[in-house]
Amino acid sequence: MQPDKQNANLRIAALVSVGKHPGSGRARRAEQDARAVEMGLAMAPQGLEVLHAGDPHAEALRAYAGMGLKKLRILQQGENADAVPALSQYLSETKPDIVLTGVRAESGESSGMMAYLLGEKLGMPVVTRIAEIVSIDNGQANLLQALPRGQRRALRVPLPFVASVDMAAATPRQSAFGPASRAEMEAKAADVEVLDEVQASWSEAPARKRPKRLKVVKAKTAADRFKAATAKSSGDGGKVLRDKPASEMAQAVFDLLLEEGVIR
């Protein structure tokens, strides 16, 4: 979507985090957060503020800046601090029209609660998994929400609101090294720093492989067990239509499609 006059004084805050590559485990820009930045850049490049709570020296943050940002706002706080109080304090002061986040972070707890906690604290409606902001008129935003299987749902929400951006949103532009290193990292200490005490009591380990669920046969008699052990997998064969007119066969296929509810 092209930025137009209507969005000229629209103010968007995109919250970004340090991502983690699923294979190598290296720090990178998080995929969903990068999509949120992309959406913000497409909507209102002037009014976009990219916000991060944490360490201002993280290299991965430069990857966001390389998307063409002049500066990043960083609320400096310790590694074990809770990001929500600092962010909600800052956002309640700056009062942006739209707050964009990813659905789930790629590092840390990745509970996906950020958008909801911010929405609850700031008193703003939360929209989840949006794929596109179609338009904004009369203080209302028309959104497309991503549903499973590539489907979309149209939603209408009044400004201001918090939205989490789905992977179905437009792919983020590449990050360029030059602009990334030139961008200003505007760090200031967070106003409130709350230590995450619950998290301190957890133990964290690399993910174990989950056991596959076994198909347990619960048979009462020996004969049933024998039958279950020796029975061939029931290739129910299916229905075969042959030597019939094509119209009859097509009708059978079409009836099945209707029954499955795939014809809309």
Binding site: P22, K239, A246, V262
Partner: protein
């Protein structure tokens, strides 16, 4: 005195002795239950045991009907539906609330796992707990009892149809006030569970365990950092559970007693649902498309194939041969070298079904094959196969689809 006199029926005795008598079978059947002799003892007739086999030899079934069916004769025991024992909870000490997704109005496998986890937590804890399922809107599930639902709170109403997360969370908040459940369990799924769970957690101020996959009453193991780490933590009150977190209930029936909220909730919803948007089926990634029309070597008229896909509203797919011949682009290829598809309905037109292709469609529910060869592997895999020329069937399908669309438009007008 008269009741002590034992009266004999010589004719009946005679018929019972004479296997060739026309009334012999009927008499034997009538008296098969239990007969008492003159002294009051139970008399078992050894001649009535078993049945006469196909070549006139008596056969005695010593497996009590559990053996394999002999000579087309179905044993009575196998077909009998087993009545599962009823699990009753009278006056529950606490509730464990489950909010199932109810995709398509029915419990999904994920929902059943979550209910199984709820029962596991109750077994581990003290006191008698009951599983309370909160279901929004109309549902089509008939087997709540076999899934393990002790109490059912069905919140219905016009307002709950469609996408109404705010209203649902308000109702769940009311459940929290009235029932004060010991645990809240939701499926961590894209369908609804994740969103509702997070909203509820933010509202009632609980810190949830997300993607929890191994939960006991004191410890929960959750996937963190995008599924690359395991976080072990104390079991919180609200949990979003991963798939296959516990075994579903399958050995008991449950009461499914209906419950109601004392006060109804009404919230001014801010998010307005404008309904689903029509999506171009070919814009949906092949891997997540719901309905795929796939073409192979047997398709000759490619324009007709594209027309058929458009008329049916299906995403296009192709076999390797069709792609190699340049009839379809590479990203449309289904199979081991292309995309592994998850479609619910997969129509294979003129595809014989190479192993690689069959691997690629392994997760599809309903496969329909249109092919000229009866013996091909795709026909063996398919739920419905048409042995005919693909061009003719597709022409008919286009006609039917267009007629159906026309009818829908006329009915709407």
């Amino acid at each position: 005195m008269s009741d002590e006199i034992i009266r004999r029926d010589p004719r009946a005795e005679w018929i019972a002795r004479n296997r060739l008598h026309p009334l012999h079978d009927a008499m034997q059947q009538a008296g098969a239950a239990e007969t008492r002799g003159p002294s009051g003892l139970i008399r078992r007739n050894p001649h009535a045991v078993g049945f006469i086999g196909p070549n006139g030899i008596k056969r005695i079934d010593r497996m009590n009907g559990n053996g394999p069916a002999v000579g087309g004769r179905r044993s009575a025991g196998a077909a009998k539906e087993v009545e599962l024992p009823l699990h009753k909870v009278e006056n529950p000490d606490y509730y464990v609330v489950v909010v199932p997704d109810m995709v398509g109005g029915r419990l999904s496998g994920h929902d059943r796992d979550v209910i199984g986890q709820a029962h596991k937590l109750i077994r581990e804890g003290e006191g008698a707990g009951a599983v309370l399922a909160v279901v929004f809107g109309e549902h089509r599930e008939e087997a709540f009892d076999k899934a393990g639902v002790d109490r059912l709170l069905n919140i219905t109403g016009e307002a709950y149809e469609g996408y109404t997360p705010e209203l649902r969370v308000a109702a769940l908040e009311q459940v929290e006030k009235e029932y004060a459940p010991k645990y809240w369990l939701l499926p961590d799924s894209v369908a609804a569970g994740f969103e509702i769970g997070c909203r509820l957690a933010a509202r009632i101020g609980e810190r949830p365990a997300t993607q929890a996959w191994q939960v006991s009453s004191d410890e929960a193991i959750c996937r963190g950092a995008g599924g690359t780490t395991d976080i072990t933590r104390k079991t919180p009150r609200l949990m979003l559970l991963a798939e296959e977190c516990a075994e579903p209930i399958d050995e008991t029936r449950h009461e499914v007693l209906p419950l109601e909220l004392e006060t109804s909730v009404s919230v001014q919803a801010v998010i307005q649902d404008c309904g689903q948007v029509a999506v171009d089926p070919n814009a949906i990634p092949l891997g997540e498309a719901e309905f795929i029309l796939s073409a192979g070597n047997g398709v000759t008229d490619w324009n007709q194939f594209h027309q058929a896909a458009e008329a049916l509203g299906a995403t296009e797919g192709a076999s390797r041969v069709a792609v190699d011949d340049g009839n379809m682009p590479r990203f449309r290829q289904v199979g081991a070298t292309g995309t592994w598809v998850t479609a619910r309905v997969y129509v294979a037109v003129g595809i014989s079904g190479a192993v690689q292709h069959l691997q690629g469609i392994g997760q599809c529910d309903k496969v329909i094959a249109i092919n000229t060869d009866v013996g091909c592997d795709m026909v063996k895999r398919a739920a419905l196969s048409c042995i005919a020329d693909s061009g003719e069937v597709m022409a008919e399908l286009i006609r039917l689809a267009n007629a159906y669309r026309q009818e829908v438009v006329e009915n709407a007008a």
